[in-house]
């Protein structure tokens, strides 16, 4: 993928805060610090990757990862942006809801199921589970099979 502009931009501005994990014909994966998350996402958007396909998260036991997928509408090119969140007690990250309207629901889903707070989100509340539900089901310490009812957990 010929995206030297993005590479240069990252090297120039965020030398220590972002690294390129892998690069193939179609995909470029960037691991970035959470401080520059919004900034880099905005830059990616301005580069022409205007389709935010997905925001999701994983629980890597020692940390959380937030993973965004950006696509171009014209070419089969994709940037994967990964953000590591070290703080397990109070994980927090900027919200992209100001850049893409679709980020609203994606982030609410992540918040609901993984328990990551999005700073600056206009309407951060549970989306799939109900209000008042305890716990975040997709975390690895949340049991998938248990004798208890799911609402008795947490």
């Amino acid at each position: 993928m010929e995206n030297n502009i993005l590479k240069e931009y990252i090297e120039r501005n965020f030398f220590a805060q972002a690294e390129i994990l892998s690069e193939t014909e179609e995909n470029m994966t960037i691991l970035a610090d959470k401080k520059i998350y919004k900034e880099i996402a905005e830059y990616i958007k301005n580069l022409g990757y205007t389709f935010l396909a997905d925001i999701t998260s994983t629980d890597n036991k020692d940390c959380f990862m937030v993973i965004c997928q950006f696509f171009r509408y014209t070419k089969n090119e994709n940037i994967t942006l990964k953000i590591k969140i070290e703080d397990r007690v109070n994980p927090e990250i900027d919200s992209l809801a100001g850049l893409w309207a679709t980020a609203d629901w994606h982030e609410r889903e992540v918040y609901d199921l993984m328990g990551i707070n999005f700073k600056g989100h206009p309407n951060l509340k549970r989306i799939l589970m109900w209000e008042g539900y305890k716990g975040h089901p997709l975390r690895k310490d949340f049991p998938a099979v248990t004798r208890k009812r799911s609402w008795e957990l947490g």
Partner: protein, 364 residues
């Protein structure tokens, strides 16, 4: 005189929310001034359940996502696992997958347009397309023994080979389908009431559609011809000659007409695929226990309702560490709150129906 707005609950039990969608509408007379969409009534935790299953055991769960297009969901999931494993799928299997996926697309669009007309009040409109869908489901149930939850795709290929019966049945089906489409066009397209209910209703501009991550026919009705079958061809889609129908108004009528035209393109694809269908294996050789190397992978494909994506994380064990689905309906309906404002309640029903969403997919 003092007037005030009031709130009504559209759903979770309501005849035209297609399941259990809940929309709180704030209305002034019959005009909507505020709207809040609540989802989650059908949340089954498929992503969490998948973490405790082996890779092939996740396939049946994907049937339950968009239960009107089970085959396409199967396909996307096995493709993602294949991408992680780096497996090459035999050519015949690829062709079969395309044929099946396109038949599924026709079946899905038949439900989509049928229910759309029904929600506008013309109950008869639902029966003509459903008869066509029934033909497809008959073919599928002969092929894999199931009508809705197929579990047909396998990692590295497909479960069973298609036989002469299936091919002949598909040909007969494709021969009579254009007649029905024509009949439907004449019944619906020029109906004055239908036009007044759909033209310029629920308009979505191109930039709105981009921002809300709309995909599938809903995006293409807003003037953006983004279809993964053309932009990032998977399986053998690059070998066929077909068009991507695009409409430019972004209203309810365009969303309907794009679906109708897509069915015609699907017929073209299936005909070509059947003509080119090669002989050979239908399944790649794979180890008994599927253990992808540690790592992650995102893959997406053009489902009937939009782009279904799957993000898969492996830690080297036979069970996936994390499975996430990017469900098209989930993104598509997030625009409701914005589009609804200023329309009448009846228009909102028309908008909802024109989006052709499935709650199984929205709530995962």
């Amino acid at each position: 005189m003092r007037t005030q707005t009031y709130k009504i609950n559209l759903g979770p039990q309501h005849p035209s929310t297609h399941g259990v969608l809940h929309v709180v509408l704030e209305i002034d007379g019959e005009t909507i001034v505020g709207s809040e969409t609540n989802i989650g009534y059908l949340h089954r935790g498929i992503e969490k359940l998948a973490e405790n299953k082996k890779y092939p055991q996740v396939i049946p769960y994907t049937d339950r996502l968009d239960y009107l297009a089970g085959m396409s969901n199967n396909l996307l999931y096995v493709q993602t696992v294949e991408k992680m494993l780096g497996t090459e799928v035999p050519e015949r299997a690829s062709y079969i997958r395309v044929i099946i996926a396109e038949l599924m697309r026709i079946a899905n669009h038949m439900v989509g347009i049928g229910i759309y007309i029904m929600d506008l009040g013309a109950v008869t409109g639902v029966f003509y397309p459903f008869i066509q869908r029934e033909h497809i489901l008959d073919l599928f149930s002969k092929l894999c023994g199931s009508r809705m939850t197929f579990n047909y795709m396998r990692i590295g290929g497909v479960a069973v080979d298609i036989d002469e019966d299936f091919i002949r049945g598909t040909e007969i089906f494709l021969d009579q389908l254009p007649k029905m489409l024509h009949e439907y066009h004449t019944l619906v397209d020029e109906n004055e009431i239908f036009l007044s209910r759909t033209k310029n209703i629920g308009k979505i501009s191109k930039s709105q559609a981009e921002s809300f991550g709309l995909t599938g026919p809903n995006l293409r009705a807003s003037g953006l011809g983004y279809d993964l079958r053309k932009v990032a061809p998977y399986e053998v889609y690059d070998r066929f000659d077909f068009n991507i129908p695009v409409a430019y108004n972004g209203d309810c009528f365009d969303r309907y007409i794009v679906r109708m035209q897509e069915v015609e393109e699907s017929i073209k694809i299936i005909r070509q695929a059947m003509a080119q269908l090669p002989q050979g294996e239908i399944k790649a050789k794979l180890p008994r226990i599927i253990k992808p190397e540690a790592g992650d992978c995102y893959h997406q494909a053009e489902n009937p309702k939009g782009i279904l994506g799957c993000y898969l994380v492996s830690d080297g064990t036979p069970k996936p560490y994390r499975v996430h689905f990017r469900r098209p309906s989930f993104n598509n309906i997030s625009i409701f709150d914005e589009v609804a404002i200023g329309h009448k309640i009846a228009d909102f029903i028309a908008i909802m129906a024109s989006f052709d969403f499935v709650l199984g997919e929205v709530d995962a």
